[in-house]
Symmetry: C2
Subunit: 208 residues, 2 copies
């Protein structure tokens, strides 16, 4: 995870990012088809709008992560950066976020965090790191190298980005996981079931 | 967090501990009074039984953490180990778990994890690390140096111990946090409320 301080002078370092900014509804934006034909693809506002047409409005506190299918390269540094020469950063070809889409999310949805399955929030061909800057200037933390996004649903999860609390770190290793369904609240589910049962019994009694 | 491999040959290293062993209902065992008079105090089965008298049976998958008040020493290495000579481990005086209490929990409650607010699961005066061994041999992971236990209720929380997934680590830095109440399951609560409302309406109709 990059904290806002990674690209924003005076912004929060890792240990200062509030816990409740690290947890939120997961929105996985699948851009695989576009990336297949264009390894320099930048996630756009219309990708977010397309997601919303399928799954509803991106909720408050969302953690919005690009799924470009890139985690298949996770064990191959060259492929992960889309290059044959790891020392030449101008040769990198990886998809990422556009600054516009980040600004749109911040302005129009009160999200908690963004992320990518590539090594960088920006596309590999960036020179100005516009996406990093747009995130940092809006106090967003940003997840990189997220894996296994195909294993969770595009919506309906809670994502936890439990960053290691390194004092004054501009970033840190992060255990990222999603809770699918409602595993942590057995009581609520039991209450719901009982309540529903009582309701049905009452309804039957009503119509007897 | 110490993974079972820390004291158990062939047991799980950090990256192999299943995620669902890292999450569970929090049980905070307050032994401050006993520790005040005895810095070598080992948490006993009767401390667990006393907790259960107050808060009910320790639930399945619980994460059970000793609160000895020790986190006041977190910034002072000598005091944290209860010694004047950090190089002489035989001089350490810190409270911890008894092996018996760990074995009791494993045998009688299906817990997920134990923890301490001291630097070690064992008491400082241990020579055989009985508590570490009892935990490891029962596939428990063990949290050390947990802080801020006074800030969460003794029961009713969900504790997350999001360990950094270090390949073949016998232990790793861990972001530990508690969710108080039911913040992550808005839907269930809404369902419950609606269901309850319907139930009441049906009941009223029944008796009209």
């Amino acid at each position: 995870m990059d904290a806002p301080a990674h690209f924003g002078r005076g912004r929060n370092h890792v240990h200062l990012v509030p816990l409740d900014r690290l947890i939120g509804p997961g929105c996985i934006i699948n851009v695989k088809k576009k990336v297949e034909n264009n390894h320099d693809y930048a996630l756009s506002v219309s990708d977010l709008e397309d997601w919303e047409k399928m799954y509803g409005k991106i909720p408050e506190k969302a953690i919005v992560i690009m799924n470009s299918g890139w985690d298949k390269y996770k064990d191959d540094e060259l492929k992960a950066w889309g290059t044959n020469n790891i020392t030449d950063t101008t040769s990198y070809h990886t998809p990422g976020w556009s600054a516009q889409s980040i600004t749109w999310l911040v302005k129009n949805r009160r999200i908690n965090m963004i992320g990518v399955d590539t090594p960088s929030i920006d596309i590999g061909q960036t020179t100005k790191f516009e996406a990093h800057v747009a995130g940092a200037m809006n106090d967003l933390s940003m997840l990189e190298n997220v894996v296994n996004l195909d294993k969770i649903p595009p919506s309906g999860t809670i994502i936890y980005a439990a960053v290691t609390k390194i004092l004054d770190g501009s970033g840190a290793p992060t255990r990222v996981f999603a809770v699918v369904g409602d595993n942590t609240s057995g009581t609520s589910r039991v209450q719901y079931t009982w309540s529903l049962l009582l309701c049905i019994v009452s309804a039957i009694l009503t119509f007897l």
